[in-house]
C-alpha cells in the first residue's frame, strides 16, 4: 500500500484534476518529489529555485502540519495521508478597468532560519512555539493613534512579529511628543506620525508590514479601515474617537483593547464581541472641558509606556489564545503608589449599541454626541 496524497483545489489543474494521488515514498520530501516527477507542472508550485518547499504551501501528514513534525523529512508509512494545500489568502479578481489583481497576500507557513533566530525566545516556550509565532506573523492589528499609547504598543507588536500593523494618525511629530512617544525620534519632528512609525518599525523588524492611514478616523472611513484587521488597539486621545472606535468594533465584531491615561493614573480593559463595550461603562462622555487633556494637565510620560505595553500584551494574548484577557475587568493603575486594582465590568443589557435591543446600529456624529451637554442626551 502506498501513501495517499490529497491535492488542494488550486493545484489540481496540474494533476489532471485528480484530488488524490498515490505515491511510494518514505518521507514527505520524497513523496512530493515523486509527485512532481509524475506531474511536472506541480514542481514550481511546490518548490522554489533552491529546491525548498515554498513558504506558502501547507503540507500535512494525517492532518498534522509538518512544521510540528519533522518538516519535509517527516517519515511516512503505507496508508498515511499527505495533504498539500496552498495557503493564499484572498487576492480577488482583477479591477474593473482590466488591470490585474493585486498579488494575493502570502500567508506565512514556514519560518526562515533568520526568523527562527529572531523569534527564538518565543518559540522555545511551549505556550507559543512555532505554531504561535506563525499565528502572530499571520495576524493583523489596527492601532488607532501613534501617540503616547500607540507608540510603545506598535514597538512591541512589531518586535513580536505581528505581520501587519495598521496605524491611524493624522498628526505630525511635535517636539513635545518626544517625552513619551518613543517610536518617534528628534529627526522625525514635522513628519507625519504614521510615516515616522513605519520607519522605526522597518528598522526593528522587516517582517512587519505597517499600513499607514494618515487621516483622522471618522464615521465615513472607520468601518472600511477596521474591517481588515483582527484586533483593534485604541490609543486615541479624545472622546469622539473613543466612542467611534468602540461602536465600529461592536458592529464589526472586533476585539478592542482600550486604555486611557491621566497624569499618573490609567485604566485598561478589553472589550470582546458580545461581552460589553465602552458605552456599557460610560454611556455618555463628560461635558466638554470637564476632563483636561495631556497638554492641559500634563502626563507622566513613562505611564504611557507601561500602559501601551499592557495593551500590546493583551493584543498578543488574544491572537495566541493565551491566558485570561482583561475582558469583564477594568484594570486601574496608580503609578505613584504602584497600585494595580481591578473592578468588574459587565455588559449592560440596555446598552444602546451592544445591548439586547440596540437603538444605535450605525455610526453617528460623534463630535455632536460629545459636544452636546450630557443632560440633553436622550
Amino acid at each position: 500500500m502506498p501513501v495517499s496524497v490529497y491535492i488542494g483545489t488550486p493545484l489540481r489543474r496540474f494533476t489532471d484534476n485528480l484530488a488524490r494521488v498515490e505515491v511510494e515514498a518514505r518521507d514527505v520530501a520524497e513523496a512530493l518529489n515523486r509527485l512532481s516527477v509524475r506531474f511536472p507542472g506541480l514542481r514550481t508550485e511546490l518548490f522554489d529555485e533552491a529546491g525548498q518547499l515554498r513558504r506558502y504551501v501547507n503540507v500535512y501528514v494525517n492532518n498534522q502540519e509538518i512544521e510540528d513534525l519533522a518538516g519535509p523529512n517527516t517519515p511516512v508509512r503505507d496508508g498515511d495521508e499527505i495533504a498539500v494545500v496552498p495557503a493564499l489568502a484572498g487576492g480577488g479578481d482583477g479591477a474593473a478597468d482590466g488591470s490585474p489583481a493585486a498579488p494575493a497576500r502570502e500567508r506565512v507557513i514556514r519560518l526562515t532560519p533568520e526568523q527562527v533566530i529572531r523569534y527564538s525566545r518565543h518559540m522555545i516556550m511551549p505556550e507559543i512555539g512555532g505554531t504561535g509565532q506563525r499565528k502572530l506573523l499571520n495576524s493583523s492589528v489596527l492601532v488607532v493613534g501613534a501617540g503616547g499609547l500607540g507608540a510603545p504598543a506598535i514597538l512591541y507588536l512589531a518586535a513580536a512579529g505581528v505581520g501587519r500593523i495598521g496605524v491611524v494618525d493624522f498628526d505630525v511629530v511635535d517636539l513635545s511628543n518626544l517625552q513619551r512617544q518613543i517610536i518617534h525620534t528628534t529627526d522625525a519632528i514635522g513628519r507625519p506620525k504614521v510615516e515616522s512609525a513605519r520607519e522605526t518599525v522597518r528598522r526593528i523588524n522587516p517582517d512587519v508590514e505597517v499600513v499607514p492611514y494618515n487621516t483622522a478616523l471618522s464615521s465615513a472611513n472607520a468601518l472600511d479601515i477596521i474591517k481588515d484587521y483582527d484586533v483593534v488597539l485604541n490609543g486615541s486621545d479624545n472622546f469622539p474617537t473613543r466612542y467611534l472606535v468602540n461602536d465600529a468594533c461592536v458592529f464589526l465584531k472586533k476585539p478592542l483593547v482600550d486604555a486611557s491615561v491621566f497624569k499618573f493614573d490609567a485604566q485598561v480593559t478589553v472589550f470582546l464581541p458580545g461581552k460589553g463595550c465602552y458605552r456599557c461603562l460610560y454611556p455618555a462622555p463628560p461635558p466638554p472641558g470637564a476632563v483636561p487633556n495631556c497638554a492641559e494637565a500634563g502626563v507622566f510620560g513613562v505611564v504611557t509606556g507601561l500602559v501601551g505595553a499592557i495593551q500590546a500584551t493583551e493584543v498578543i494574548k488574544l491572537i495566541l489564545g493565551l491566558g485570561e484577557p482583561l475582558a469583564g475587568r477594568l484594570l486601574l493603575i496608580d503609578t505613584l503608589a504602584m497600585d494595580f486594582r481591578t473592578v468588574k465590568l459587565r455588559r449592560n443589557p440596555n446598552c444602546p449599541v451592544c445591548g439586547d435591543n440596540p437603538t444605535i446600529t450605525e455610526l453617528i456624529d460623534y463630535e455632536a454626541f460629545c459636544g452636546v451637554p450630557v443632560l440633553a442626551q436622550s
Binding site: 493613534g145 498628526d171 513635545s176 486615541s236 486611557s260 491621566f262 455618555a284 462622555p285 487633556n293 495631556c294
Partner: protein, 96 residues
C-alpha cells in the same frame, strides 16, 4: 476602621489633593453627602440635578459597579472601598 473612598486624580483637587479619604459607613449616597459637607461641590460633580450618578462617572463598592448593586442605596461598611471613576480620554493637542 472606616470606609475608604478612593478619589481619582481628576477629582483630587476638589478634596484638598487627597487620594484616599476615610469616612464613616452608610449608604453610598450618605457617604457622598458627608463628603460634600466637608468639600462643598463634590456632590454636584458626581450627581446630576435629579440626584442620579452622572453618566460619565462610575462608582464601585470594592470591585462591583453600584449600578448593579443598590445604586446610591448600596451600603458600605467598615473596610469597604468605594472608588469613583470618571471617564478619561487622555491625549494632547486640540482634541475635544
Amino acid at each position: 476602621m472606616a470606609v475608604e473612598v478612593r478619589v481619582p486624580a481628576i477629582l483630587q483637587p476638589v478634596v484638598g489633593g487627597q487620594k484616599v479619604l476615610r469616612v464613616e459607613g452608610g449608604t453610598v449616597g450618605e457617604i457622598l453627602d458627608r463628603l460634600d459637607q466637608e468639600f462643598p461641590g463634590v456632590k454636584k460633580l458626581l450627581l446630576d440635578e435629579n440626584g442620579e450618578i452622572r453618566r460619565h462617572i462610575n462608582i464601585y463598592l470594592n470591585d462591583e459597579d453600584i449600578r448593579f448593586l443598590q445604586r446610591l442605596e448600596t451600603p458600605a461598611r467598615d473596610g469597604d472601598v468605594v472608588s469613583i471613576l470618571p471617564a478619561l480620554a487622555g491625549g494632547g493637542g486640540d482634541a475635544v
